[in-house]
Symmetry: C2
Subunit: 237 residues, 2 copies
């Protein structure tokens, strides 16, 4: 199959701000795998934290190019395994190729990927619509824009957590997930935040404290009234 | 989907003899899953050694019947998981339903199961044609009947191992796998058998000694010139 790659700059509708920083745009590599006149698409959303950059993604995709040229997506499992064995890490680039391979297979056989895997989409977990750290007006505007999404995820982890949650609850009673993105650096502070959130109909709290502080996370988990979900702390399945 | 089950008595062309016993026929339950006018087929080859009988298979299939009636094979993964959770063990019955489910999906989408799983059949391991313990004439006759099969598996584990291997090698130079079916009860004897087999172009030896004798197996593996493969010693993946 033939690999086509293209770097795209996506201008965000809203500035995307989390506890660690802010951005007005995202640059990603978009991948297209072409074979038998069918194109499968994928994208690489890299994470600099894990040693990924736009350059490292391009380098990995070029490394995979001859291997892709030599095989077809019909046998996607050995193809995936060979690609993944080309290098350690570079999971964003690998994910882009996985997505494109499975998109190709799904299009070829007119099967959505859930049917290819024999899954029932009615029982799959629901994802959420993420709302970044922003002004009260912007948070409320984003909640309105998320009208069709049954679950929201709100980014906390800073000085204005209380006013953000108040602004959110003024305009919606939907299920809300909280992502602190490592923003609470003191475990006592984190516990107080979580206890307060428990009274506001929050489903769970994601990565309350900096990654790598397992002792604090254990302490917190023994006391937290809400489920805690690791994100930055989890790198492998 | 609708479950149909039928017990069939299969009369074997040759008496089937291994180190533990002999039989002239096999009785199996055959399974048919019907949905949207398509039928998927499976069969349950039970093993009494693992607490399976014709009755226990029927009982398990009847236990699964209402669950099968309530769902479709489109979501085969959750269906399989629900069926497997109905009881521990009874793997022959579970395998029959797995086979029928995947046969249904393959027929529905006109995809062989290897393509459904994205596998390349050219790189899948080759199975072998099994030849039971028998007279010299019968062994040689079976080798001739196996003309289209590139790999043979010969059952050893008794008094006549040497003459069986001689008879086999008189009529074929194909790759041969040896299955002793726990037949060699002394580890020194097993080692001598394996050393002798190594000179006869044997690929590997399966279950040389009785299951459960891990110390003997370790001793043997440290000395064996051929790869050893566990069978009766392996019950879970």
């Amino acid at each position: 199959m033939k690999l086509h790659i293209e770097k795209k700059k996506l201008h965000l509708r809203h500035v995307w701000r989390i506890a660690r920083g802010a951005t007005e745009f995202k640059e990603y590599w978009f991948v297209r795998l072409e074979h038998e006149g069918i194109s499968g698409f994928g994208e690489a959303a890299h994470n600099e934290r894990y040693g990924e950059s736009l350059d490292s993604i391009r380098d990995f995709l070029e490394l995979a190019r001859p291997l892709l040229a030599a095989c077809t997506p019909h046998h996607f499992l050995p193809v995936k395994e060979s690609i993944h064995a080309l290098a350690t890490g570079q999971d964003a680039a690998k994910a882009a190729l996985d997505l494109a391979l499975l998109d190709w297979v799904g299009k070829k056989y007119a099967l959505p990927v859930h049917a290819l895997f024999g899954l029932d989409p009615r029982t799959c977990p629901l994802s959420s619509y993420s709302i970044g750290i922003d002004s009260i007006e912007a948070v409320q505007q984003k909640v309105r824009e998320a009208g069709d999404f049954p679950i929201l995820k709100i980014k906390l982890g800073g000085e204005q957590d209380e006013e953000t949650m108040r602004a959110l609850r003024e305009v919606t009673q939907k299920t809300v997930r909280v992502d602190a993105n490592e923003g609470w650096h003191d475990r006592q502070l984190a516990l107080e935040k979580i206890e307060w959130l428990a009274g506001l109909g929050v489903e769970f709290v994601e990565q309350p404290m900096p990654a790598g502080r397992l002792d604090d996370l254990i302490w917190l988990r023994q006391r937290s009234p809400l489920p805690l979900v690791a994100d930055e702390d989890v790198k492998t399945a």
